[in-house]
Symmetry: C2
Subunit: 413 residues, 2 copies
């Protein structure tokens, strides 16, 4: 970019105010007027108008015709986030399926597809090529809808080094030190797009924030899949930990001398409450079931439990109890007021949730003064791919200048 930068102070003030105005518009439950934005932000109406003009010209904000705004006082132009032009792409690489999703800036889900299939026997190159192909189709569909894809979030089931995005270890895929971004780029379907790789459980927590208008500001989102992970939301932001490896609740010890885990330790939560552990304890076929993909597998568990299988019922309650013990530990440590049961725990909540609530009530030291709220995920198994797509739009809404710098004319405006 050859545009001469302005002095740092003025530039950063403008960036801050632009973000302030956009946040006010995106955070409002209904269209707001320029005057309302000025009143809420403390900026002058002239400043707000100039900033709104920039946001409208950049197609991040749309103006509704006056008649659609609230009838409190004289008619004014209603401002809303522009959902027609900018979008984020989410990719999820999971143990038994691949998924993609396009979310527009206003939060609308514009495209979604899932490709079931066990990835454990495949080379990372092949899995990533298949994911890139699926993503390429999503970009085409988005473009046909008039959307510009602003970036890509990739959810993977393992430890990701931030900010570099290297997948260090995905125990259930058997991948180690995998450069997922490079493998996805090879297919040539994502040229020119920023790609961010993060842990699926982190993205799933963001997906929950995206899907549930009543989400708490601080909560722990637990994702049950083949593996079990958690995302920690503090002040409506993801808590990543020092290196990006937070939330590995699946490897909390539930039983000191319990069954061995793929991670190398013993008695991890995953060995009680992971999808395969539940199938095994229920006496249901493990390999046949997982090749069906997550939802079909969960359907089999539900069928068995509702069909009166005492063994399945016991397996689910054992999973719920172990999950409750681990969740109680997390709440004792973090002091977090809410827990969201996501992934396979959402459809299995009828069996899992009461056990979790019981352990939580018994084991959390502070439970007597403030009951921890256990909820079922609003996003369910879509949470990770939705959160991955939403992380792109979320970033634009929070820091619009960073995205607008892509537009060569912006800084000169």
């Amino acid at each position: 970019m050859s545009v001469e930068p302005r002095p740092a102070r003025q530039d950063s003030l403008r960036a801050r105010n632009l973000a302030l105005v956009l946040r006010r518009i995106s955070g409002a439950p209904e269209p707001v007027s320029r005057a309302e934005v000025a009143a809420a932000t403390g900026l002058t109406r002239a400043t707000v108008s100039a900033l709104v003009d920039t946001l409208v010209a950049s197609r991040l904000v749309a103006e509704l015709p006056p008649r659609l705004t609230r009838a409190t006082g004289r008619p004014a132009t209603g401002l809303v986030v522009d959902g027609a032009h900018t979008a984020g792409l989410g990719i999820e690489i999971n143990v038994d399926y691949l998924a993609v999703c396009v979310v527009d800036l206003a939060g609308g889900i514009r495209h979604r597809s899932v490709l079931p299939g066990d990835q454990r026997g495949r080379a990372p190159e092949r899995t990533c090529a298949a994911a890139a192909e699926l993503a390429g189709q999503a970009v085409e569909a988005a473009t046909a809808d008039g959307l510009t894809v602003a970036g890509v979030g990739v959810a993977v089931p393992g430890l990701v080094d931030l900010p570099a995005g290297l997948l260090r270890f995905a125990p259930n895929l058997g991948w180690r030190d995998t450069d997922v971004e490079a493998l996805l780029r090879r297919a040539g379907r994502l040229d020119g797009l920023d790609i961010t790789v993060d842990n699926e459980a982190n993205y799933a927590a963001l997906g929950e924030l995206h899907s549930d208008p009543a989400a708490l500001d601080d909560f722990l989102h637990v994702s049950g899949e083949i593996g079990v992970g958690a995302g920690i939301i503090l002040g409506r932001e993801l808590f990543h930990g020092t290196r990006g490896w937070s939330g590995e609740i699946g490897h909390l010890t539930v039983d000191l001398d319990g069954p061995p885990c793929r991670c190398g330790a013993r008695g991890c939560l995953e060995q009680f409450a992971g999808q395969e552990a539940i199938l095994r304890a229920a006496g249901l076929p493990v390999n046949a079931a997982t090749s069906l993909g997550g939802q079909a597998t969960v359907g089999r568990i539900i069928d068995a439990a509702e069909g009166g299988s005492a063994q399945t019922d016991a397996a689910l309650r054992r999973a719920g109890r172990a999950l409750g013990v681990a969740v109680a530990g997390a709440v004792n440590l973090l002091d977090i007021p809410g827990v969201v049961l996501g992934g396979i725990y959402a459809p299995l909540a009828k069996w899992i949730a009461p056990e979790v609530q019981r352990e939580v009530d018994q084991r959390i030291l502070s439970a007597a003064w403030s009951q921890v709220i256990v909820r079922v995920s609003a996003a369910g198994s879509d949470a990770a791919v939705l959160g991955a797509a939403g992380s792109v739009t979320r970033k634009i809404l929070r820091d619009p200048v960073d995205w607008l710098r892509h537009d060569q004319t912006f800084l000169a405006r």
Copy 2:
């Protein structure tokens, strides 16, 4: 205060710059000059000089004679934090002792006293009266040294509601819903002083930050006492959780069906690694030992282990293993690169630390890429009272204006 406040913007800018200058001076390993402060902060030399004059007049910063500064370039006046005038008072109310401590603004420990004695049979009123008496003596000693005590931090072994400071529950004292501040004030020895009550494990983590110049920016400090607690330091700040109840590692489940805990649950870490659990497993007398106070009790455990008691050795290793399991869980969740063993674990580290390191290496998913550093506390059993005192001086160094507002003339200066 009757001083007319200046417009918000100018006032907050001045406050921010004053804090910036003071942070630069207090963060430097050796005396710095005005010119160095100006270069490091980006403020003009005139602005820095005016702010330094305010800090010197307020006795938060002292000027050293030029000859004592570094000989890099022409001689300049060296600026250091003024340790001669302002101090914080720490009070620790624990199960088997009371302690007080005075720390000056430069970090020097100026007064310290401990009163051993089991507090479990006593009414909170009597314990707090005894603590207030001890604190009053410390204020007298500080005053005699020319120090102004700027505030009080009180460390208590239980759940504290923030910001109100109500002690909700101290399982090992048997206290519930106790207004410790009000009980301390009754004695009339702490009139006019701000009092902040917080959990002992939180203050102990701050104490570690205070005592160890090589402390990591992010770490978990585990305090072994009768109870077991943890303080979480992220970015050199205490992480309190939503309501102030974070760090309750003592109530993480180590064994699903383990022994009952005073908190009402079963198999909590405290039942394996708390002081009394170790004594019991070692076959040492529990009641007689605890009435001696923590350090004498630990001395008995060490004597038994070094005297060849296999039972004591096994009890310590069992405690270390349980602690390692809980710590590994915390690191899996939080992704925190360091663990500090404090309280009784410091003198017992020879037996405890290797077990903790082994469990941590085995159970932390990310351990293969980044070994978690297990260290022994630099502050030991003094950490909580030191951190409580240091929290007062820390607050002044971070936000000097808030403290200087006590001085009626400051705003007019």
